[in-house]
């Protein structure tokens, strides 16, 4: 027999579910039904239609774009359970969360942890409303995987810092309003000389130059800072604390890049479906090519094991409190499997899966090609597979370097 408090909890849950349903009915524009998520791997220019704008504003008003963030900074203040119900109901209605990007995924959670009260009040609400776009100023041309080797300097000028240097791989730098940046405030110590600074992208002296990728897209920029004045209030944490804060942010990034959920969303059509369409089936409904069928099954088994691992990692970290070790495994395996799937997809489709542009190819075929090419970056950014292997070997397995 259910206890009284259980019954009450169930009532509350149902009441919340009903609240969400009503909200969606009243606010979600029919024309957006099943148009998918606004969250994409890398942000694009994204010009909003009026319907999209209205939906974003409605969600932003409630704070439901960032459902578990505190209400006082514009978040939804929901419990994890409520957030899950919100997601379920959005999915049922063919709706989506219109508020995403680096502000939501990386910068927001980090600022909530390390920012001052003023900083949170200033920066979190616009993220929660989806009004401000953030980009990441971490990588530099001579500091790839060796991130801490960064050279961009921030010189203390009393009331402001004077920033000079060059960043690269700034995702969406050409569309961003603000940049969270790692800068060097002290040359004498590699790690402790790094600080975490927030820079307006329209400040004088900031220039961006999009980088053309092999996929033909230009989602990243080189960003040049020439005598950029940044007010001191834009320093997060203390001077020299940037490396600690920056690494914490990378954990959020890694979780997002590898988490089963978001990876699954990125995966697109299932391989059996693609193969049915391009290779056909036999009389018993099996894929006509038994060897391909075997390879797809091989992939699906490993993909299932990966998703189970992501779930297990979430459960374990909830039960035991922050087991970050497995995040390197998830990043490494999830990105590898994503690339494998893309390679297998284009192989199944033959030349039809290698279209670059123009006639003869469907939009989804062309998008698949770009995704295959762009996906090559997933094992490089956010800590390359090689860096994850080093982390696993050294930190998790205790295989130390030769002294």
């Amino acid at each position: 027999m259910a206890s009284r408090s259980t019954i009450e909890a169930q009532d509350e849950t149902e009441a919340f579910r009903e609240e969400v349903r009503q909200f969606v009915t009243q606010n979600f524009p029919d024309e957006l039904k099943n148009t998918g998520s606004a969250m994409s791997a890398v942000e694009g220019p994204d010009e909003e239609t009026p319907a999209q704008q209205s939906w974003r504003e409605a969600m932003g008003e409630r704070g439901w774009g960032v459902p578990t963030w505190p209400r006082e900074y514009g978040g939804g203040g929901l419990t994890r359970k409520q957030a899950a119900i919100l997601n379920e109901e959005l999915a049922k209605a063919g709706a989506y969360n219109p508020i995403g990007g680096m502000g939501v995924m990386m910068f927001g959670p980090t600022l909530l942890e390390y920012g001052s009260e003023e900083q949170k009040k200033e920066h979190i609400p616009p993220i929660a409303r989806g009004e401000i776009r953030w980009c990441q100023g971490y990588s530099e041309p001579n500091a790839g995987s060796d991130l801490a080797n960064l050279q961009t300097t921030a010189e203390d000028k009393g009331d402001h810092y004077l920033v000079n240097g060059q960043k690269t791989w700034t995702s969406g730098g050409q569309w961003a309003d603000k940049c969270f940046c790692l800068v060097r405030t002290d040359r004498s110590d590699k790690h402790k000389g790094i600080s975490f600074l927030l820079i307006d992208m329209d400040a004088p002296g900031v220039e961006v130059r999009p980088i053309q990728m092999i996929s033909g897209m230009s989602p990243f920029c080189e960003t040049f800072f020439t005598d950029v004045e940044v007010p001191k209030k834009n320093l997060v944490g203390e001077e020299g604390e940037g490396w600690t804060i920056g690494k914490r942010l990378l954990q959020h990034e890694r979780t997002n890049l590898s988490g089963g959920g978001s990876m699954a969303r990125m995966m697109g059509a299932s391989l059996p479906d693609i193969a049915r369409k391009y290779v056909g089936t036999d009389a018993e409904g099996r894929l006509a090519d038994p060897v391909l069928r075997d390879r797809i099954a091989d992939f699906e088994i490993r993909w299932s094991a990966f998703l189970l691992t992501a779930r297990r990692a979430a459960e374990e970290s909830k039960a035991q409190g922050g087991v970050a070790e497995i995040s390197s495994v998830l990043k490494k395996v999830g990105t590898k499997l994503g690339q494998e799937k893309a390679e297998l997809t284009i192989e199944i489709m033959g030349f039809q899966g290698l279209g670059w542009e123009g006639e003869g190819f469907s939009e989804s075929e062309l998008a698949g090609v770009r995704a295959w090419l762009f996906g090559k970056a997933t094992t490089i950014y956010g800590g390359s597979t090689e860096v994850q292997n080093n982390i696993i070997a050294k930190r998790v397995l205790g295989m130390l370097d030769h002294q």
């Binding site: 089936t281 069928r293 088994i301 299932s304 691992t309 495994v329 080093n390 070997a393 295989m399």
Partner: protein, 356 residues
């Protein structure tokens, strides 16, 4: 590691203590040296029964603890780590066949004895060298079962066989009409060809049309648990070895090429564990078992195969000697990989279950 209940943690710790202290690999070496076809120590099996492991999936009303499959898996994983020889996994699966398909009378008769470890059960399925439950020629007529099962695991110690015939599953007691011929495999454990020649057979009527699949899926998941223990142990042993062995004035563990290979194996092991535990959880929840069983066995096959190869290679020459344990794992690994579905079988079934 899955999140465990307090009860499960106690069970796991108990199993770990017992295997570490009472049944390390040296015990298996003793059994092997003894050369008995049965290839396990009855006293060890009695100890397992005393600790309640033989009844872990048997309902309380029939003398078991009904702790469930995740609990069973925890124990079997620990046994796998030290290569503890016993018909525990085999007998648990046989009991589950009766739980799923037996009449009340059959349950009342056999389950208490199986749970108490007084009767040992074994599964007799395949009639060919490769797992193929669709190729069964064994027939039953007038309550007498006739057919030959090619490689029955733990046949020597078994008292009761769960036998797959063309029209369903049957219980057959060892005795008249049942003949064993040894089939010594690389693991040097108990395997035999079992000939049934008009042996008295008692049908398992319950459990529905897919009773065979249900029982086989349990065998697959339980086998995968033992493989998980083995893979974990090979990994741990190899890591220890690399941290101790010096070559070119450097501890092997400091060589980056070896570090990255260990990182790969660590990731594979994580996937294998998730897949195997996912199988156990599916059995406990009753949801999605066929697919979960295939994912568990396929990943167990894939990862243990790689782990046993890399384990030898990373140990170098010493890993090739009988004196070191790692080779023993290799020789058991391939037997378990072939049991109840090799990787090709699993992929084929995953595709069929997925409707492609």
């Amino acid at each position: 590691m899955a999140v465990l209940s307090e009860e499960q943690e106690m069970l796991r710790d108990m199993a770990r203590d017992w295997t570490t202290n009472e049944s390390p690999v040296a015990e298996w070496r003793k059994v092997r040296a003894g050369g008995e076809a049965q290839a396990y120590d009855p006293a060890a099996y009695a100890a397992m029964a005393e600790m309640g492991w033989t009844g872990v999936v048997v309902p309380e009303e029939h003398g078991g603890s009904d702790f469930g499959w995740l609990s069973a898996g925890l124990v079997i994983e620990e046994l796998g780590k030290t290569l503890t020889a016993s018909p525990l996994a085999s007998s648990i699966v046989a009991a589950s066949a009766i739980i799923l398909g037996g009449s009340e009378e059959q349950k009342a008769k056999w389950l208490p004895q199986l749970a108490a470890g007084e009767v040992v059960g074994a599964l007799a399925v395949d009639e060919r060298p490769r797992h193929d439950p669709a190729a069964i020629e064994t027939q039953v007529s007038g309550g007498k079962l006739t057919g030959t099962k090619a490689f029955v695991h733990e046949a020597h110690g078994a008292d009761l066989f769960v036998v797959v015939a063309q029209d369903g599953l049957y219980l057959v007691k060892k005795g008249e009409g049942v003949t064993l011929s040894d089939r010594k495999l690389t693991d040097q454990r108990s395997h035999a060809e079992v000939k049934f020649d008009g042996a008295v057979a008692d049908t398992l009527k319950g459990g529905g049309d897919d009773l065979l699949d249900q029982v086989l899926d349990r065998a697959r998941i339980v086998t995968a648990c033992e493989m998980l223990g083995m893979a974990q142990q090979v990994f741990d042993t190899t890591l220890d070895y690399l941290k101790q062995r010096v070559q070119f004035n450097q501890v092997l563990a400091t060589f980056q090429a070896l570090q990255h290979r260990m990182a790969d194996l660590f990731a594979d092991l994580a996937l294998m564990r998730s897949a195997v535990e996912g199988g156990l959880q599916a059995l406990d929840s009753g949801f999605g078992v066929p697919r979960a069983a295939m994912v568990a066995k396929a990943e167990a096959n894939r990862v243990l195969n790689a782990m046993s190869r890399e384990g030898i290679q990373l140990h170098g020459g010493i890993g090739m000697t009988d004196e070191y344990d790692v080779g023993l794992y290799l020789k058991r690994a391939r037997v378990l990989e072939a049991s109840y579905g090799n990787i090709a079988f699993c992929r084929n079934r995953i595709a069929s279950l997925g409707g492609y």
